[in-house]
């Protein structure tokens, strides 16, 4: 089935269905603290890039725990979702996934959920994506979806991680960046920098964001009509990461004059 066959249009359901049981198809260690879980759904997932699922674990004595995890796969796979799960210290659900879950395990879940933090190909303005650590997950779904449908819209990803081993989806991202002139990748390492590292080496700050604006503005060349102001090169931004990270970047984007409703955020952690 071609990509146009997936139920990913803006009409995709706004109601998460009932609880259902998925089967773990594979587990992949993506970084020292992050594993990817591919879950086979009993039916079509029908989600939009950027949405998430609720997971519910039930102990033999009846105790239950629920958490939400973003989907990092593309909506074109009709009945499989990939969840990106970071091991949280003392996290009862993430530690179960990391230490216990293996191929074949049944997992109860419900979704897809969320609607503001989504992207569909009918949005054609240039997009700024900003990820901190495992906050890359929903943005990866957006980027994979964009690649699969062959969308020509411009996107720039700023990805902040602590060390080189924390760069999730590195091969996929670097491949996209090399094959697609409309996609720019900026990776910054905030803790340890290996010898020969050519990327950025500090927390994402206004100067780095300004450079991203300049990059898209410059490379757009004559692609935009002359009416567009230089500071409006990105029509929308999606920011996902820890609270402080998202707060500081969203606040700065607001200062640049970006439309409040086009700055879309997902924050995690206390």
């Amino acid at each position: 089935m071609g990509p146009e066959g997936a139920g990913t249009g803006p009409e995709a359901t706004a109601t998460p269905g009932a609880w259902q049981v998925a089967t773990v198809e594979s587990v992949h260690t993506e970084s020292p603290r992050v594993k990817l879980f591919r879950l086979k759904l009993p039916g079509r997932g029908n989600f939009q890039a950027g949405q998430y699922y609720d997971i519910r674990l039930s102990a033999p004595d009846g105790y239950q725990a629920q958490r939400s995890y973003s989907i990092s796969s593309s909506p074109e796979e009709p009945d499989v979702i990939e969840l990106t799960i970071e091991l949280i210290t003392d996290g009862e659900v993430s530690s179960y996934f990391h230490e216990v879950v293996e191929k074949g395990e049944k997992i109860e879940l419900r979704g897809p959920i969320g609607g503001h933090f989504t992207w569909t190909p009918n949005y054609t303005e240039p997009v700024l994506l900003v990820a901190g650590g495992s906050g890359i997950a929903p943005l990866m779904s957006i980027l994979r979806h964009r690649r699969t449908v062959g969308a020509a819209s411009r996107m720039l990803l700023m990805f902040s991680v602590r060390t080189e081993s924390d760069i999730l989806f590195r091969r996929d991202l670097e491949q996209m960046a090399s094959e697609d002139t409309n996609f720019e990748l900026v990776i910054t390492l905030t803790r340890a920098v290996p010898e020969g590292w050519a990327g950025e080496t500090r927390r994402i700050d206004p100067q780095m964001i300004d450079a991203a604006f300049d990059m898209v503005s410059r490379e757009a060349g004559g692609a935009f009509d002359g009416a567009k102001e230089p500071d409006r090169t990105f029509g929308r931004a999606y920011i996902c990461g820890g609270t402080g990270f998202v707060e500081s970047i969203a606040s700065y984007l607001l200062e640049t004059g970006m439309d409040y409703n086009e700055i879309r955020t997902e924050r995690f952690g206390p």
């Binding site: 109601t15 998460p16 609720d54 102990a59 033999p60 939400s68």
Partner: protein, 208 residues
């Protein structure tokens, strides 16, 4: 279904029951769909508006309005309460100060309200509530948290506090209430979140 090797409960047992599917959180997570808007109390104003005369198109009148000083001049009320976020965390024993919706209605002379309100906010966020869930001491316009001015990322200068419903109903950066003669979805409700949102009945999403 049962996950046979899952035992959970690595966090301390709650001192009293919390709603189903929730876990205890010591911190105060920030969840907002967009940036934290900059709100200046010098120009801040809270209004209560009547329902529109003809459906959704215009025609509403202002029934009451308060600037920052006027809000602070009204009788102040303390709430000591637990809060429950639909993203699964609950926080116990939080302390708030502000002005009850009862006090605002009384000050504005509102005696026969419609059945529903839409709360509206800086940044464009909205959420719908039955009026009976914000009166009789159930709803607060909160400007103080834990003895300090409410921080912007938590909804300051003023957020709605309706602690018996999921916390997305406690709208951050609230600027007013608009009466509605029938219920209509706000921001998250339009994306499939429950129209009412009772955490004890786990009404997270449409149809729960």
């Amino acid at each position: 279904m049962i996950n046979n090797r899952f035992f959970g409960r690595r966090r301390p047992e709650p001192p009293r029951p919390i709603p189903p599917g929730q876990y205890l959180e010591d911190g105060f997570p920030v969840l907002s769909a967009g940036p934290t808007p900059r709100v200046d109390t010098a120009t801040w104003e809270f209004t209560i508006q009547s329902s529109s005369a003809n459906g959704s198109e215009g025609g509403s009148e202002t029934l009451g309005s308060w600037d920052w000083d006027a809000l602070n001049a009204l009788p102040q009320t303390d709430f000591h309460t637990d809060i429950h976020c639909v993203t699964k965390w609950s926080k116990l024993d939080t302390d708030w100060r502000g002005v009850t919706i009862d006090t605002l209605f009384e000050d504005a002379g509102i005696t026969d309200p419609d059945d529903f309100v839409m709360a509206f906010c800086d940044g464009g966020y909205t959420t719908n509530l039955p009026v009976e869930d914000i009166v009789d001491g159930k709803g607060l316009l909160a400007h103080t948290y834990d003895g300090e001015p409410l921080a912007p990322e938590h909804g300051g200068p003023v957020r709605l506090l309706v602690p018996h419903l999921y916390f997305w109903k406690s709208a951050k950066w609230v600027r007013g209430l608009k009466f509605m003669d029938q219920d209509a979805p706000g921001f998250w409700e339009g994306y499939g979140y429950n129209m009412y949102g009772d955490p004890w009945r786990e009404q997270r999403y449409t149809g729960d």
